[in-house]
């Protein structure tokens, strides 16, 4: 049920040659992505030859210690940072065109950041519906959709509130609702619950599972917490730092919806254990 590939070998990462983007069945694929940050004195290879296919409706957790390039990879996928080499494909279409973003492809993505980054001058309705406003959707339709999404994330009573009046967890749920408002084909989340306390975080993990099941969204979830990665993901992709590479990909063979108690099962425990060993083995 649980397969761990040996360190340094990518078990199910295809090479560009045998899997051209046009024929890819995956909703989302990362092809030979590298990223080099160069200053006058230093040249840092943040990511080296990353290949990953994510199929429709799948949730992939991306873990690694801090500085392993997982946030960099997510920013490349989100259209915020151009890759040095390689490209990212959404349903076969390339996201990057050199240093420019293909806006039609970008429209299919939803991003949730580490911080909610809500706009303090908009109430919750307008924050959730901002992506629709930018698309030119009318006011009535925006309000309808915002109400629907606020209900989905459990904030139906707070439509008229301002971000400052909400708690950290509530704000992050608004950020999720905002990311979902354009019906993204792919939801990218960069340690979205990192700033929350442990209990709120568990609740948010459950909430996220419910939302992704309800919306059938494809999700890439970045975290540095192993059990969170296992709880959230259908697969857990582990990155190693300097240069950032995929070290192993682990299938999580647990049925959905997963209750919080799943964390006490043997299958969950052994997956977490395998990942922990793999992370620790990096140090050698």
């Amino acid at each position: 049920m649980v397969q761990t590939s040996p360190a340094g070998v990518r078990s199910d990462a295809p090479t560009p040659e045998n899997n051209p983007p046009e024929a890819a069945p995956a909703t989302f694929s990362i092809k030979s992505v590298s990223k080099v940050f160069a200053t006058k004195t230093q040249r840092t290879e943040a990511l080296q030859d990353i290949n990953l296919d994510i199929s429709e409706g799948e949730t992939v957790s991306l873990i690694g210690r801090s500085g392993c390039g997982k946030s960099t990879l997510l920013r490349i996928m989100a259209g915020l940072l151009p890759p040095t080499e390689g490209n990212v494909y959404v349903s076969g279409k390339p996201l990057w065109k050199g240093h420019a973003v293909e806006s039609g492809v970008l429209e299919q993505l939803g991003v949730v950041f580490q911080e909610p980054h809500l706009f303090p001058w908009f109430d919750i309705t307008d924050n959730i519906a901002l992506p629709l406003k930018l698309r030119g959707v009318g006011k009535a339709e925006r309000r309808r959709r915002a109400t629907e999404l606020a209900d989905l994330v459990g904030l139906g009573d707070f439509l008229k509130s301002y971000p400052r009046e909400l708690s950290g967890g509530m704000r992050q749920r608004v950020a999720i609702a905002r990311a979902l408002s354009r019906d993204p084909e792919l939801l990218l989340m960069d340690e979205p619950f990192g700033a929350l306390d442990a209990l709120t975080r568990e609740k948010m993990n459950l909430e996220l599972q419910r939302i992704t099941l309800a919306t059938e969204a494809t999700v890439v979830f970045v975290t540095h917490d192993i059990s969170e990665a296992v709880f959230i993901g259908d697969r857990v992709v582990q990155l190693t730092p300097r240069p950032g590479r995929i070290q192993s990909i682990v299938e999580v063979g647990l049925d959905r919806p997963r209750p919080l108690d799943v964390q006490a099962t043997e299958a969950f425990g052994s997956t977490v254990r395998d990942l922990r060993h793999a992370l620790e083995s990096e140090e050698s």
Binding site: G79, F119, W121
Partner: protein, 265 residues
């Protein structure tokens, strides 16, 4: 609950009460020690003189001139302050080049230039408008500059990820983000504009409330002098109040406004 209501009433009840008490002490001590009205007139005499001033149409025309100078100078400062602040905030190399000059101009007491402006722009209203604008310009420009540079990179990322166009970015992010800074600059700026216009009137010309201060002084009319000062205070208060109301109206979401409305952050 009751303590917070008391807190909200205190400025409206306590402050006027305190003023009445202070004026009473003033009135009583001036009479008790028989102080010359030329040095310190009692409040009753000032009130009487103020009553005469308010009924005098000439005073109103002077007040109107001063008010127009302040408002024109202030609006000029807002327009120029926003323009220069935005440009310097967006163009880093230009800001670095101009920065030492800005610091220099900040340190120089700008009021020292007033006689020069009177020479250049004459004794009429234009020299006062320009002096008011010059004093109000700096706080507005510096706040706008700070505001442009303080736009949250996280918010920018959100807009980039949402594929926002330039105009959409401006209306939904930049403009709204800079607004609290602009209004903070305007709050300081309006006070400076009042000072600028009045100092200008002291030094040159024969119209405006500042000129009336000088005239009452020359006539050794101390109650009149106090009366004009009261009128100036009222004018300043009205203009400051206008900016304050504008702020409540434009940025109700901002901490500075939100807290004042008795909300707990």
């Amino acid at each position: 609950m009751s303590s917070s209501r008391l807190g909200r009433l205190l400025p409206w009840v306590g402050a006027p009460l305190l003023i009445v008490v202070l004026c009473t002490i003033w009135e009583v001590s001036v009479r008790a020690f028989d102080v010359s009205t030329l040095i310190l007139p009692p409040p009753s005499l000032i009130a009487e003189r103020l009553g005469e001033l308010v009924q005098d149409p000439e005073v109103w025309s002077h007040a109107w001139i001063t008010a127009s100078e302040i408002i024109m100078g202030f609006l000029l400062a807002v327009v120029l302050g926003v323009l220069v602040g935005v440009v310097l905030g967006k163009v880093a190399w230009l800001e670095m080049t101009v920065r030492p000059i800005i610091v220099l101009l900040q340190v120089v007491p700008k009021v020292a230039f007033v006689p020069l402006f009177v020479i250049w722009f004459g004794f009429g209203m234009s020299s006062k408008v320009i002096i008011a604008a010059m004093l109000a310009f700096f706080p507005i420009m510096l706040n706008v500059l700070l505001g442009v540079k303080s736009i949250d990179p996280g918010h920018r990322d959100v807009m980039t990820a949402l594929n926002a166009g330039k105009m959409q970015r401006f209306t939904n992010l930049d403009f709204r983000s800079v607004m609290p800074y602009l209004l903070a600059g305007m709050e300081t700026g309006i006070v400076f504009a009042v000072i600028g216009a009045i100092v200008g009137e002291y030094l040159g010309g024969n119209e405006g409330l500042g000129y009336m201060v000088v005239r009452t002084l020359n006539q050794l009319d101390a109650p009149g002098l106090f009366g004009v000062v009261v009128l100036l205070a009222v004018l300043g208060l009205v203009l400051y109040g206008a900016v304050f109301i504008l702020k409540r109206f434009l940025i109700p979401w901002h901490e500075s406004v939100y807290a004042q409305q008795g909300n707990v952050a």
